[in-house]
């Protein structure tokens, strides 16, 4: 099977990953970046092919724009407000809708007033192709849980790959190293946006720069980079 040779390898659009006719009676689950073309599974986006037992294939992609997925936590920017929805930009193919009532204890009488340009930490509730994604400022059980407007702080953009790395467990090395020496709060959106807030602008800048630098470094290199950065200013 060609699939075995391409797993964990970089693939390009057009590459054939699997020939379905050679497998007997199997259900295969295809994730992002793959599509079925007759008998053949081919790649549509460049990235690294991944496989997880027993039958899931997907391409791990890192790009600047975001593909909305249900249950993702993202950072959105309010672009407009309507009577029943806020229009929020989440770096996807379409603007997302945030219902005015999608807040903890939200009723028609206490609709929040978000100005255009407000940064929000939200959860994607619905993301169907061709429809505008729907967001919510509550978790699945209806509690506020840190969702909502982010005040102060500094927001910067990055690739979706870096966002996923920052949110990986165990804790990503750069955040771990920074957390040991500095005190700050950070919100990472899976859509390639990161927000940092700290008591002084000085700390905010260090954290932001460290995170932006870490995109191009391995775990050990990240720790060394953070150490050097902190040494310079202390």
């Amino acid at each position: 099977m060609e699939a075995i040779t391409l797993i964990d390898q970089s693939v390009c659009p057009g590459d054939v990953v699997l020939d379905v006719s050679t497998i007997a009676n199997h259900t295969i689950k295809l994730g992002g970046g793959l599509r079925q073309d007759g008998d053949v599974i081919s790649v549509t986006k460049s990235g690294t092919l991944r496989f997880s037992n027993p039958n899931k294939y997907w391409v791990q992609i890192s790009q600047k724009r975001y593909v909305p997925q249900q249950k993702d936590s993202v950072l959105g920017i309010v672009v407009d407000s309507r009577s029943d929805n806020f229009l929020v930009d989440i770096k996807g193919p379409a603007l997302a809708f945030l219902p005015v009532l999608a807040f903890e204890g939200g009723t028609r009488r206490n609709i929040p007033k978000f100005e255009i340009g407000t940064l929000l930490y939200v959860r994607v509730v619905k993301a169907n192709p061709g429809m505008n994604p729907e967001l919510s400022c509550t978790d699945a059980s209806g509690k506020a849980a840190e969702f909502g407007a982010l005040k102060d702080g500094y927001m910067f953009e990055c690739t979706t790959g870096l966002s996923r790395m920052l949110l990986s467990s165990p804790t990503c090395p750069v955040l771990d190293a920074l957390g040991k020496k500095l005190s700050f709060e950070i919100a990472v959106g899976l859509n390639g946006r990161v927000w940092v807030n700290a008591a002084s602008p000085h700390t905010t800048i260090i954290v932001a720069n460290a995170v932006m630098n870490s995109e191009t470094l391995s775990g050990a290199q990240q720790r060394i980079m953070v150490e050097k950065l902190l040494q310079k200013i202390q």
């Binding site: 970089s10 390009c12 081919s42 600047k64 603007l95």
Partner: protein, 241 residues
């Protein structure tokens, strides 16, 4: 005028079946969602892709597909004499349309309904084959932006001068007035998405010239693949995977 010497060398010292040196770079425009520079000999082209994003002009929104827009322009300084009107002339409009249709054939537009993908291609230095270089650059830029595609589109030109099929014409050979075939193919799927020709050619010779262009396209495809894989590997390495 002699375009192929009796020894079989062209004006720039190439053999008839030899392509110019190609070079590509991904990610040149940091603000764009995807970008690439593509050079074929002295022809240098830069492509930037924005999207998929919300359609700017509501009236143009397509409910079942993504809207693909393409703009081709030549920099003032790209040709020998400084150009006065680089955009909006007939040739630019035609080439914009050609590139758009070629790329639309390979982008999986039905996966991104109601959205817009913008492709901007600019020629920085023109020495023949700008159309092909633009398509190759656009392919790389689209792959860099993570837009789902069936396959790459690669393009190459071929001509027929002094009774010899020639691959990858430069400006002098192009302006000789002989036939100029531009071909765009999906290499893995082996399908033709662009086939344009200037001037006239007998049909039996057309087959040879087309075959030559297809081989040129396949060679470009393997180079583009290498560049893209190298870029992907770099990103993976940097993230420590």
């Amino acid at each position: 005028m002699e375009f192929v010497s009796p020894e079989g060398l062209r004006l720039d010292g190439r053999r008839p079946m030899e392509m110019r040196q190609i070079r590509a770079e991904i990610g040149a425009v940091s603000k764009a969602d995807g970008s690439a520079i593509f050079e074929m000999g002295n022809t240098k082209v830069i492509a930037a892709v924005y999207g998929p994003r919300e359609v700017q002009n509501r009236s143009q929104q397509i409910s079942s597909h993504a809207l693909v827009r393409c703009e081709y322009s030549m920099a003032n300084f790209s040709t020998g004499d400084r150009m006065r009107k680089p955009k909006g002339d007939r040739r630019s409009t035609e080439i914009s349309l050609v590139i758009r249709q070629t790329m639309e054939a390979c982008i999986l537009t039905h996966l991104l309904p109601r959205s817009q993908i913008d492709i901007y291609v600019q020629v920085l230095q023109a020495d023949g084959g700008t159309r092909s270089a633009c398509i190759n650059a656009a392919t790389l830029a689209l792959a860099d932006a993570g837009i789902p595609m069936r396959d790459f589109v690669t393009s190459c030109s071929a001509g027929y001068l002094n009774s010899t099929p020639l691959l990858d014409l430069n400006y002098v050979e192009d302006s000789a007035g002989g036939p100029d075939v531009t071909l765009g193919i999906l290499p893995k799927l082996d399908k033709v998405t662009l086939f344009q020709m200037d001037s006239k050619l007998p049909i039996d010779i057309l087959e040879n010239v087309m075959q030559l262009a297809i081989e040129g396209c396949k060679a470009i495809a393997s180079y583009i693949r290498e560049i893209l894989l190298e870029n992907t590997n770099q990103l993976e390495y940097r993230r420590g995977v």
